[in-house]
């Protein structure tokens, strides 16, 4: 039994917003894989819930006329992984989704819930950061769009205000077309474990030279972080193993991992550099370039 004190089911986004607005203590529940665990652990701040589990409006994956891709925030990871549109346009999102929990978790946990719980280890985030995804948000004061790279404020903290709901994730055609991508989750176990460090890269190579590199890390700083110093440094460099080593070293300048029981700061720094090398290399190969 969960200690739920009030329960309302929302059938539309509008209704969810109105219910949130009417109750300052209420929290949304989508897949429940965070909320129900918190309730199980006795966290009272989740005892008033607004149920958006069945909300059709925030499900679905679509390719728009201009080739931008929309992912409904309410899509569970299994549906993301099995989406043909995602496979053909932004496979890195499916790749990252496949590293979440185990099958039963992926069958119910949503990509929107993964972003909104604010966990710095959230597995979908790094991939969305290198795709420069835009988040479509709506609240009582209207709708707005926020780049995923500006969505996080700190551990467990995101920009959503109380009445706001994340509706969709948009990825622009210009941000995936022509890019090679890769995501790697470093964890202590191969399944059912949270990331020690997560790393995603998207790269465009033109005539053997790096045209654009986007490199993002999770758990490497108080919030998901793009390694902008490394990104800028990489522009125009020959896509060679030697240069990848240099770019990976640069990435350390942008990051500040913590010490925790899971891994020490030194170990995390070592993983960051190793992953940066590995992930950039895989992304270059994915872009069809021989190293």
């Amino acid at each position: 039994m969960f200690d739920i004190k009030s329960y309302e089911k929302a059938d539309t986004v509008k209704q969810a917003i109105e219910l949130l607005s009417a109750n300052p203590d209420a929290k949304l529940i989508a897949g429940g894989t965070d909320v129900l665990i918190r309730l199980r652990e006795g966290h009272e701040e989740f005892s008033s819930i607004i149920d958006i589990h069945h909300l059709e409006e925030i499900k679905g994956v679509e390719m728009q006329d201009n080739m931008d891709v929309r992912i409904g925030a309410g899509m569970c990871f299994t549906d993301v992984i099995e989406s043909e549109i995602i496979d053909q346009t932004i496979p890195i999102v499916a790749e990252a989704s496949g590293t979440v929990g185990g099958p039963q978790v992926r069958n119910v946990a949503t990509i929107g819930g993964n972003l909104c719980n604010g966990a710095i280890s959230a597995d979908s985030v790094a991939s969305l950061c290198v795709l420069d995804a835009t988040l479509e948000i709506e609240g009582i004061d209207g709708a707005r769009e926020v780049p995923v790279t500006e969505f996080y404020l700190g551990p467990g903290k995101i920009v959503l205000t109380h009445t706001e709901i994340l509706k969709s994730i948009y990825i622009k055609a210009e941000n995936y077309m022509g890019f090679g991508t890769h995501y790697y989750k470093y964890a202590m176990r191969n399944a059912m474990d949270i990331a020690t460090i997560g790393c995603a890269a998207a790269i465009k190579v033109d005539e053997g030279k790096v045209e654009t590199l986007k490199l993002a890390f999770t758990v490497a700083a108080p919030k998901p972080t793009r390694a902008t110093t490394a990104e800028q440094f990489s522009v125009g460099l020959d896509a060679t193993s030697e240069n990848i080593e240099k770019i990976a070293k640069k990435a350390l300048e942008d990051l500040n991992p913590r010490d925790s029981w899971r891994a020490s700061k030194d170990f995390r720094l070592h993983i960051i550099e190793t992953l940066a090398k590995r992930v950039i290399t895989a992304a270059i190969i994915d872009a069809g370039v021989q190293l």
Partner: protein
């Protein structure tokens, strides 16, 4: 107490309930006598509470009972018919994949969905392991379980 009327089928039988909204599907299924649903961890780690919801394996310990409204639910009890165990259940017995048995009904449901999905396709042991990574077993060491699943895919 807040309640909500829900209707769902379990192992082919229609059930209508005025359910306490605080309950997990695990609570409700066990109260209905379906004690093959086990609570191991209660937090989505072990899979002992796995049931198929519209043929998809779910941890019922972190699934609100109210979400079951309109769903088709299968548990290990329903896989045996007329005193005859299912093919997957028989394969577990034949492979020696059952020791204390606590994890078994959950594993059986994950395997049942897996076999239904991948029947006739080429499947390697890694995929079997990956798709069963949401179920834990403290006894068998998993090898016999993988063998049981493999044998179900053969013919």
């Amino acid at each position: 107490m807040i309640t909500k009327e829900i209707e769902f089928t379990v192992n082919g039988q229609l059930i209508t309930l005025d359910v306490d909204i605080r309950k997990s599907l695990l609570d409700v299924l066990r109260e209905e006598g379906l004690t093959s649903i086990k609570q191991g961890c209660g937090v989505g780690e072990c899979g002992a509470c796995t049931a198929l919801i519209d043929d998809i394996p779910m941890d019922t310990c972190m699934y609100l009972a109210v979400w079951a409204d309109g769903k088709d639910i299968r548990t290990s009890e329903g896989e045996s018919r007329d005193g005859q165990v299912s093919k997957v259940q028989q394969a577990y017995i034949d492979a020696g994949a059952v020791q204390c048995g606590y994890c078994t009904p959950g594993f059986i449901m994950t395997s049942t969905a897996f076999v239904e999905k991948y029947k006739g396709q080429k499947v390697d042991r890694d995929l079997i392991r990956k798709e069963h990574s949401g179920n834990l077993c403290r006894c068998t060491g998993y090898e016999t379980i993988v063998c049981a699943v493999e044998s179900c895919l053969k013919d």
